[in-house]
């Protein structure tokens, strides 16, 4: 993860992992954001044992200076924006074994597109 941004004050998309989630998913989210040219950073989830992926993403977005967060759970990935109602993520996708990489990469790319202001690529989602 050479392109991760470690400085906690730099604007970045915040990504939070649920305790049971596969850590490699983060890498693919990061790759998606990198191709669009927006930095992202792994942020530890709050101590509260948050299992709802939308709430996880919403909390990440609250702390992001770019107002965008991504939540990753074992079977779902959510992209959220700070001002959205917590229960309404901008994108909610299922993560399944065979196309986990594409789904996570697409979530990262779309999170970046939310920052840039270009249309989201929603048809990539299965």
């Amino acid at each position: 993860m050479t392109h991760e941004d470690e400085n906690p004050d730099r604007p970045a998309i915040h990504v939070s992992l649920a305790p049971e989630a596969d850590e490699s998913f983060y890498k693919w989210v990061a790759v998606g954001a990198e191709e669009e040219g927006i930095p992202c950073r792994l942020e530890p989830a709050d101590e509260t044992d948050e299992t709802d992926v939308a709430a996880l993403a919403h909390a990440a977005a609250q702390n992001s200076r770019l107002d965008v967060g991504v939540g990753i759970a074992s079977t779902q990935v959510a992209v959220h924006e700070r001002h959205m109602p917590a229960e309404r993520p901008v994108i909610l996708s299922k993560v399944e074994e065979d196309h986990a990489r594409q789904v996570c990469r697409s979530a990262g790319a779309n999170a970046a597109r939310l920052v840039i202001g270009t249309p989201l690529r929603l048809d990539d989602d299965p």
């Binding site: 990198e34 191709e35 669009e36 001002h83 309404r88 939310l114 202001g117």
Partner: protein, 615 residues
């Protein structure tokens, strides 16, 4: 006392006015209505549309269909218009020799020149021989993911291979570029990467963010990179032209490489005037065509050169009109033509990344005369259908003026502009003189056609929507910026599929435009289309009806019909005519109907005046 209905059948809308008419009194209007015209204007198919609108309007008036004593039909604007577009130039790449497109995110930046090579030939585990010792441009197909590709390229660079740039099939350009020890330009999302020939000299250019390629969009730039002779440089002009404005591009020099910009024989048009005939080539452009037309006017007919595009197009229109009017082909005469130049994006034949090149096209609107007979047939069928007396109630130009004169603040002499889908009509009423009128080819449908072609839209309906609705850009999930730069916020988040898109504001609804065009581009195309067709034809029409052809002699101009309902055209027209010292504005028929219903209202007023004269 009797109850009379006026019915105006337009190319796309049928309008109705219902009034109680007594001797010596002005008519008492009871209701109005409008609906879609069914079928082509002037045919029996119109009946069902007329009946629908009449039923609605009688219901509003609180009467039944059988209370109608008389129905008056407009004596049809004797014109039917049609439009068509022919591309005059096209770009053909006979041997794949260029890639030019705008992927969302190309990698790195700069210019690289070298021999094209497949990435497997740089992989020591895979390649069968020595590494190349000359500068190379690496081709990366989709089955090499970015990590593997970056790994192979890094090792090749460390082994001393001069990699200058890359052409990538997937959306991985930035990812590969970021993982290399030096900054190199990568063009990505090249769909048909397998069509790129290997072992050929190629140049790749990626411009800095916010800029467009400079070297590869310049014929001398390409000549410099490939050491071309002056003759060869002449051949790369179409390539350079096709790459203008793109952020990334590839040009490949193949021995047989040959990109042609060729002229399609579009054919010539013969204008047959009452005094002389003149020919003009379609290629010579709209201005030349219109000048030639002006020289032969008044026009008695038009012929297209047979066996050419324009010949086919004019014959198609003639055939349609012959079918509708049941006249023989020889009797269908074309009475006006409007030519408009436009720039149309066309897919480059033989391109590698689905490139588009901007080509020149000419749009033509033509108009033919129909005759009174058509409307008489409609009147007969309608009479049979509803069991009421139906008559033709006066020429459309006269009745439209009578309707427009119910507008507050207007007076004779008055000119009207009545624009619809097929033609722009103008009429002038002066005290004690017969009404002057003119019908010109090219109106709303022509505007839609230009928008559709210039924006490269697949569907005519989408272009129609763009024509009649203002634009906005969705800037966040909670706000949009309208085309006048005002911002509108929303309590509830917008649909995420709208985010970042250019949308049409249709009442309370937002419809995204499925294209990559910016708001400014869509807006410019829309306004230019209206300017080149509607404004130009309005001025042309006013010139024809003005005494001595000078618009300055007019005092009042009222806009009636669908033109008056457009969200920007009336302002564009008023602005244009202010320069001629004319009071111009949208009519307000019967003080509350705006620009609509002028002819239907005028039919009833005309009927009353005739009754009075007879009495």
């Amino acid at each position: 006392m009797s109850i009379v209905a006026g019915v105006d059948i337009g190319n796309s809308t049928t309008e109705v006015a219902i009034a109680r008419v007594g001797e010596g009194d002005s008519p008492e209007f009871l209701s109005s209505g409008s609906g879609m015209t069914t079928g082509i204007k002037g045919t029996a198919e119109n009946i069902s549309g007329i009946v629908n609108v009449l039923e609605e309007a009688t219901e509003v008036a609180g009467i039944g269909m059988d209370d109608l004593d008389l129905v008056l039909l407009n004596e049809a604007t004797p014109v039917i218009g049609d439009v068509a577009m022919e591309t005059v130039t096209e770009t053909v790449v006979t041997e794949s020799s260029m890639v030019g497109h705008n992927p969302g995110s190309p990698g790195g930046e700069g210019i690289g020149v070298g021999q094209t090579i497949h990435i497997r030939d740089l992989d020591e585990n895979d390649s069968d021989g020595a590494l190349p010792d000359e500068p190379v441009i690496v081709i990366v197909p989709q089955d090499y993911d970015f990590e593997r590709a970056a790994d192979i390229l890094t090792r090749a660079l460390e082994a001393g291979v001069e990699i200058k740039a890359g052409i990538v099939q997937g959306d991985d350009g930035v990812l590969i570029s970021n993982r290399l020890p030096e900054t190199l330009p990568f063009v990505d999302e090249v769909a048909h990467v397998e069509k790129v020939p290997l072992d050929m000299l190629a140049a790749v250019e990626v411009a800095p963010q916010g800029q467009a390629v400079k070297q590869l969009s310049n014929p001398y730039g390409i000549a410099t990179l490939f050491s071309l002779s002056s003759e060869e440089t002449g051949h790369v002009i179409p390539i350079a032209k096709a790459l203008i404005g793109l952020r990334s591009a590839v040009v490949i020099r193949t021995p047989e490489s040959d990109v042609e910009s060729k002229q399609i024989p579009a054919g010539s048009i013969t204008f047959m005037g009452e005094r002389e005939n003149r020919d003009v080539e379609l290629e010579s452009g709209a201005d030349e065509i219109m000048d030639t037309l002006a020289r032969v006017e008044p026009l008695s007919d038009v012929q297209g050169e047979s066996g050419t595009n324009v010949g086919g197009m004019i014959e198609r229109v003639r055939q349609t009109m012959a079918d509708v009017t049941e006249k023989s082909l020889d009797d269908v005469k074309i009475r006006d033509v409007l030519a408009v130049d436009c720039q149309v994006p066309q897919q480059v034949e033989g391109g590698i990344a689905d490139e588009f090149s901007t080509e020149t096209a000419t749009g033509l609107a033509v108009m033919v005369d129909t005759d009174r007979l058509l409307m008489e047939r409609v009147a007969e069928s309608l009479s049979e259908e509803i069991g009421t007396q139906v008559e033709l109630g006066g020429a459309e130009a006269n009745t439209a003026i009578l309707g427009a004169l119910t507008t507050p603040g207007i007076d004779v002499p008055v000119a009207i502009i009545d624009g619809g889908a097929g033609s722009v009509d103008a009429a002038l009423l002066q005290e004690g003189k017969p009404v002057e009128h003119v019908h010109l080819a090219g109106a709303g449908n022509m505007v839609t056609l230009l928008i559709q072609n210039e924006l490269g839209l697949e569907r005519f309906e989408v272009a129609e929507q763009i024509k009649i609705n203002p634009l906005a850009k969705v800037e966040s999930l909670f706000h949009i910026r309208h085309e006048d730069n005002s911002v509108q916020f929303f309590e509830e988040p917008l649909d995420s599929s709208l985010f970042g898109r250019v949308i049409l504001v249709t009442g309370d609804d937002f419809v995204p435009i499925e294209s990559d065009h910016t708001l400014d581009r869509v807006r410019t195309v829309r306004q230019e289309a209206k300017r080149r067709v509607l404004l130009r034809n309005s001025i042309r029409a006013l010139e024809r009806i003005s005494p001595s052809g000078n618009i300055r002699f007019l005092d009042f101009v009222a806009i009636v019909g669908r033109f008056g309902l457009d969200f920007e055209l009336p302002q564009m027209l008023t602005n244009e005519l202010i320069g001629f010292d004319i009071v111009a504005g949208v009519a307000n028929v019967r003080e509350n109907l705006g620009p609509t219903n002028a002819v239907a209202t005028g039919l009833i007023i005309n009927y009353c005046q005739q009754q009075d004269e007879a009495a």
